[in-house]
Amino acid sequence: MIIRQSQDVRPSEITSEGVYRSRRAFLAWIAGTGLMAAAPDVLARALASAPPAPSPLRYTPNPRLSTTERQNSWEEVTTYNNFYEFGTGKADPADNSRGFRTRPWNVAIEGEAEVTGSFTLEDILRPHPLEERIYRLRCVEAWSMVIPWIGFPLGDLIKRFKPTSRARYVEFTTLLDPQQMPGQRYPVLDWPYVEGLRLDEAMHPLALLAVGLYGKVLPNQNGAPLRLVVPWKYGFKSIKSIVRIRFTADRPRTSWEKALPREYGFYANVNPGVDHPRWSQKRERRIGSGAFWDRQPTQMFNGYADQVASLYGGLDLARNF
């Protein structure tokens, strides 16, 4: 594999082979005890005090882009997941992803960009300060949560690779590894999972690349080590465990669109006015809140209409669902 460095990483920042190897050994040990870490300084801290809990991250809260709604508990966020690579039951991802190895991890940058190549996760993350954003997450299955993500704007990453004028879309791909991802041993979807955004959607300040939640490194079942969070779209757009980012001139064919084109579109913007063919999208069940039977109205663009509606001027949202 060709490892090229992005231009804004100085050679002095590149991890030496020896350090990399010892870090890998350490990470294997961390993974063995069920821990993971995101950045070298986090590793050091995790090593110094090694309580059996996910490693903490350094970040600054971003209240301007955060909701003040009641957050879902760690328990809820980490035990009720859709991550078909680890099984189609809601508890399967937590059960089946325990031994998932998120280091070493490489992300390939491909397609219509000036800077392309394969980058280590450390290279991907290094220039970006982390922030916390508390977002609503609306699943296409009509349930929702409020989650405090730790991450950085996708747009900031994209700028580093200088997409060319031909680039109109960004395509993301999840790791393909049936050995580690038992769900991939059966063709529920056409693996690997592929998602995509229009370039202007991807550059929107709300689009986030997450590496953590609740101040800690992202648990495997939530898409470790690197996942997308697009809060105004249904959850399945927020692809997990990303290994490839490709800039394209043509619209990517996304996994759910390929599997069931009548039910899942490319845009997948949260929209109470457009029902899923098999259920209503007008209301949603907020996990863990209110009475047993409560559902609350679903908001256009999941409540982010003020920020994102302008992306879709002139687009027929009923047809481009």
């Binding site: 879902n72 328990e75 809820e76 035990t79 009720y80 078909y84 189609t88 809601k90 508890a91 299955e141 349930w143 059966y186 529920v188 979807l189 599997a259 069931l260 063919p277 098999r278 259920w279 209503s280 007008k282 069940r285 996990i287 863990g288 047993f292 039977w293 409560d294 559902r295």
Partner: protein, 214 residues
């Protein structure tokens, strides 16, 4: 005179099976009430709705196992379990429906009517429930006596209900159809067995006069 194993069937097997029939309900009730450390996960409404539907279909298929069991083992006492199992299936499916109406949709009639009319998987499920009603109502000994041969014909509707239940299940999953297909396979086996026995009987009946003459 009592038939062989009648005591075993009435006083041991039947109470055990009854306990088995009620166990899933007890589990869900404990979970809903937060008792006994039973957890229904982050989305208890979905868990209860799905469990009730799943057990309804399970018990429908278990009920359909009784006749093959009797034929395979030659032990007629299996039949003592059939009504209890069938009513249990009805109990869970009715619960599934009521839970959907009262809790999942919180009694919102507009949504419910729209769902039943517009969403084919719910239309099928609802048809299944309607067809099950007359079977539950005619499950008494008295009704059996009154209806005579017609009782059996009426109760063949259970095959249709089981098939509707399987399709309902198949249509409501998002992409992973493995489990619904398992149910379809089980139902095919149970109906295939009956078809095979039926054909066997017909050919026996057709051969019988010659055999006697020979």
């Amino acid at each position: 005179m009592t038939a062989p194993g009648e005591g075993l069937a009435r006083f041991v097997l039947k109470p055990l099976v009854l306990a088995g029939c009620l166990a899933p309900f007890a589990w869900l009730a404990a979970g809903a009430a937060g008792l006994g450390g039973v957890s229904l996960g982050a989305n208890p409404v979905e868990e209860i709705l799905h469990s009730l539907g799943r057990w309804g279909l399970n018990f429908l298929l278990i009920t359909l196992c009784i006749t093959p069991l009797r034929q395979l083992t030659g032990w007629v006492q299996w039949m003592r379990l059939r009504r209890m199992l069938g009513l249990t299936a009805f109990f869970y499916i009715l619960g599934h429906f009521l839970f959907y109406v009262l809790v999942d949709q919180a009694g919102d009639l507009g949504v419910i009517v729209e769902d039943v009319l517009k969403r084919p998987y719910i239309t099928l499920g609802f048809t299944g429930l309607l067809l099950l009603l007359p079977l539950a109502l005619t499950s008494t000994k008295g009704a059996m006596r009154r209806l005579g041969r017609r009782w059996q014909r009426l109760h063949r509707l259970v095959y249709v209900v089981a098939a509707l239940g399987c399709i309902h299940f198949y249509w409501q999953v998002k992409a992973d159809v493995r489990e619904p297909l398992l149910y379809v396979g089980a139902l095919a086996l149970l109906l295939g067995w009956r078809w095979w026995k039926h054909r066997d009987r017909l050919s026996h009946a057709a051969r019988a006069p010659f055999e006697r003459a020979a």
